[in-house]
Every structure is written in structure tokens, then in C-alpha cells.
């Protein structure tokens, strides 16, 4: 969490970490880092539902990272709580013969253009740590994919809602580029 704050500050953003959104009307962006489990994250979303909805309606860019992205979906195999439900679909556990969590550097395959990944090319390396992955019903929201036993969405985008399954704050130069883009989008 502290490293995400640092990474955004390197992009000249003013960052506040909070459990409750202060005054949503003053915010230009909202990042959901999603630390912990799906149910704990869902509880945090529920506590802030009104504020999040007002930000969403105002067109403020929302960025979900890792679990934060998974929380945009209505449900997950990790828990029993309800997510935000911005996207249809679900969140599934990684399986198969490979080691779980999927932890380490993997490459992106860009599947469609998105404002967040502008300037990021096919094959760039990003850092993942996760045991679950989202399965959107509308495949059109997927902007980048990665492979780890299964092919899964590495980044999604729909209107002002963005999500990455990888950690841009830990993804070296590529990640910094993405966070720079995100802060730019918030400034508009």
C-alpha cells in the first residue's frame, strides 16, 4: 500500500490512504489496491458505496489493482460477499499444474486500445501476484491478456473504470508509464 502511494507520488499525484472516502467531490481519482481477501475488500466497497457511485457517475477515473479489479465483479470463488458489480462475470481460482499464486514477471498481450495502456506495447513485462483471475462476461472490456496455464485478462477498461490484474507500482518502467497515464487521465 505504501509502495503504491510512493509510486503515485512519483507521478506527482497527491495521495491519501483511507478506509472511508473523505469528501468524494474533491477527488480526481480513486485507486482500489485491494489488500487482503475478497470479502474484506467487498466490505470496504460496501462502506463506501455511495461515494464510489458518485465518483463513477461524475466520470472520475477509477483504477482497481489486482484484488481491486476483482472487486469490480459481482462475485468471486474466494469469498461469499458481493463485489461492486460494475462488470458482469465472476472471479475464478487459478488451477492446473502450475504453482499458485502466479507470482513474478510475465508479458502482456495487448488485445485492444485503451487510454490507460497507451504507449504500452505487446510483450512488455509486468509483475503479477495473484491466485484468482476475473472472467468478464463482456470480453470487449479486456484490453490486455496474459497466460499462466490459462489465458486471463491482465487489464480491463470500460469508460472511466480501469483495472489491472498485475501491480503497476511494482512493474518497473512499464508500470510507471501506466501510472503516469492514470494520473494524466485524472487531471483531465
Amino acid at each position: 500500500m505504501y509502495s503504491l502511494k510512493c509510486a503515485l507520488e512519483r507521478q506527482k499525484a497527491k495521495v491519501r490512504i483511507g478506509k472511508l472516502l473523505p469528501s468524494p467531490e474533491k477527488l480526481d481519482g480513486l485507486v482500489l489496491p485491494g489488500v487482503g481477501s475478497f470479502d474484506a475488500g467487498a466490505a470496504s466497497i460496501a462502506r463506501n458505496r455511495e461515494s464510489i457511485n458518485s465518483l463513477r457517475e461524475r466520470g472520475v477515473p477509477l483504477l482497481g489493482i489486482c484484488l481491486g479489479l476483482q472487486l469490480f465483479f459481482p462475485k468471486s470463488e474466494e469469498g461469499t460477499s458481493k463485489g461492486a458489480g460494475f462488470f458482469n462475470g465472476s472471479v475464478k481460482r487459478l488451477g492446473g499444474p502450475l504453482k499458485v499464486p502466479h507470482m513474478g514477471w510475465n508479458t502482456l498481450r495487448i488485445t485492444s486500445e485503451s487510454p490507460l495502456l497507451e504507449g504500452v506495447s505487446d510483450g512488455e513485462w509486468v509483475y503479477f501476484v495473484h491466485s484468482y483471475y476475473p472472467v468478464p462476461r463482456d470480453r470487449g472490456i479486456i484490453t490486455a491478456e496474459a497466460d499462466y496455464g490459462v489465458t486471463f485478462p491482465a487489464a480491463v477498461s470500460a469508460g472511466n473504470i480501469f483495472g489491472t490484474q498485475f501491480h503497476p507500482e511494482k512493474s518497473g518502467v512499464t508500470g510507471a508509464k501506466i501510472l503516469e497515464r492514470y494520473v494524466e487521465l485524472c487531471r483531465r
Binding site: M103, G104, K170, V173
Partner: protein, 268 residues
């Protein structure tokens, strides 16, 4: 595509300063962990490990400040180990911006610490460091206790490799996985410092018997050693200190060599 193999430089720090000299040119302060971390990151390190060798308790605050400064600069993951004995020790380091903590002696003395840490901070944060030493001739097995039946011929040592524990290394590797560890940092005490190459046998038997990623450590003297530990040792990551510190090879050179050998690595 499989995950890339990771190259991890390791920095020993004492009272917030890097102790084994790192020979970068054009660096004002060769003991500054932040500047060294940034250099390794720019060269293509996939992660960094900081091992704190400060013995005193007041050293914890110095370490926390160092971790915060590193976190402000670094945009790749980093692990901090050394002297982490309690949940509070771990919280201090993780809340200061480290991605993972590594536990060694405390995990052996109190295995439930591993579960506690995993439940509290997530499995991916918890690295268990295993220092193992060859038992030599098989009759020595009598020292290994009954609850960890000998499987490997390697015994776990704690307190910086000084104290034998009677635990079999493979048994312990399996046990820490059950307890909720996310990764194993495996050091061969015999190979450490020799620069004759990693202990491939030890690395392979632990890797084969564990579902966790294994970071091999101890003995790295060349790029070929790293090729061997990935190919023959089945390691997921290779930790090295002196070959990078003394500028025998840059990380970029090592990675290009690995790529030419057909090993998947992250090269920008």
C-alpha cells in the same frame, strides 16, 4: 508462456548501510542502500533482497527508515529479512513498504509464526529462508530427529548457519508450505561464499518436492552457474551477491547470456 526466471541481487545491510562493498563506478556513496537498489533496478534486477545483520533492537528503527526510503525509490518488488521474530517485526517492515519479509530462525523455533504471518499479510508476503548443510555420510542421519525422517541428506541450520536443528531440509520445505509460506529462499551453507556454483542437488530435491517457488542462493560465481541452477537445479529464481557487487557481470549481461541459452528472462 512460462514465468520468467528471476535474477535477485542480495544486499547485506547493517544499521541501514550496505556492508559488503559494492563496486559501482560513479557512485558517491557505495554504502547507500537506496542508491545501490536504484542501480540494480535500472540494470534489470527482477527483485531485490535486503538482509539485515544488525543485532541490536534499536537497529529496527534504522531498518524501518531504510525500508521506507527504498520503497519511495524502487519500482520493483523487494524482500527484507534478518531478525524478524514476531508479527510486530513483520508489520513494521511490510507497512514501511517492503513487499515480502523473510523469516528463518524464528520460523524453526516457532513454526506457527509462518501461519500467523500468512493469515495476517497474505501468503505471497511470506518467504521462509532455509539454510541447509549436507549431512555427508549417511550414518550421520541419526542426528536428524524422528519427526522429520531423513529424505534428502541435508539438515536445516539456524542462527546464520551456526546451529543444527535436526530437521531434514526437504521435510522442512514441505512443512513450511503446509504452514502457509509463499516462497522458499534456499541457501546451501556448503556452497555459500565458494563461488563454485550453486548446490544443484539440494536445489533440485527441494524444488521437486515443493509446490512453492524456490530462490536458490549460495555459491554463484558466474553466469553459467545461474544457467545450471535454472536448468539442473529447477530453481525459479537465482540470488547472487558478489558477482554483481564486484561488477564481474552486470545483470543485463547475465540476462542476455541466459536468453541466448534459451532461458526465459525479462529483458527490456
Amino acid at each position: 508462456m512460462p514465468l520468467s526466471k528471476r535474477i535477485i541481487p542480495c544486499l547485506d545491510v547493517d544499521k541501514g548501510r550496505v556492508v559488503k562493498g559494492v563496486h559501482f563506478t560513479g557512485i558517491d556513496d557505495a554504502g547507500d542502500p537506496v542508491e545501490l537498489a536504484r542501480r540494480y533496478c535500472d540494470e534489470g534486477a527482477d527483485e531485490l533482497v535486503f538482509l539485515d545483520i544488525t543485532a541490536s533492537t534499536e537497529g529496527r528503527n534504522i531498518l524501518r527508515d531504510m525500508v521506507r526510503r527504498v520503497a519511495r525509490t524502487l519500482n520493483i518488488p523487494f524482500t527484507v529479512g534478518g531478525g524478524i521474530r514476531t508479527l510486530d517485526d513483520a508489520r513494521l517492515i511490510l507497512c514501511s513498504g517492503a513487499d515480502k519479509i523473510s523469516v528463518n530462525t524464528a520460523a524453526v523455533t516457532k513454526p506457527s509464526l509462518i501461519s500467523t504471518l500468512a493469515e495476517r499479510f497474505g501468503q505471497q508476503c511470506v518467504v521462509v529462508a532455509i539454510d541447509a548443510k549436507s549431512q555427508g555420510v549417511r550414518s550421520d542421519y541419526s542426528r536428524v530427529s524422528a519427526r522429520s525422517k531423513p529424505q534428502s541428506g541435508y539438515e536445516v541450520f539456524t542462527y546464520g548457519g551456526r546451529k543444527p536443528t535436526g530437521l531434514d531440509a526437504v521435510w522442512w520445505a514441505k512443512r513450511v508450505e503446509e504452514l502457509g509460506a509463499g516462497e522458499i529462499l534456499l541457501t546451501s551453507i556448503d556452497a555459500d561464499g565458494t563461488k563454485d556454483g550453486y548446490n544443484l542437488e539440494l536445489t533440485r530435491i527441494v524444488s521437486k518436492n515443493s509446490g512453492l517457488p524456490v530462490i536458490a542462493s549460495g555459491g554463484c560465481g558466474s553466469s553459467s552457474d545461474i544457467v545450471d541452477v535454472f536448468r539442473k537445479g529447477m530453481a525459479d529464481a537465482a540470488l547472487a551477491a558478489s558477482i554483481f557487487h564486484y561488477r564481474e557481470h552486470t545483470i543485463q549481461e547475465v540476462k542476455e547470456f541466459l536468453r541466448d541459452q534459451g532461458i526465459e528472462v525479462r529483458i527490456r
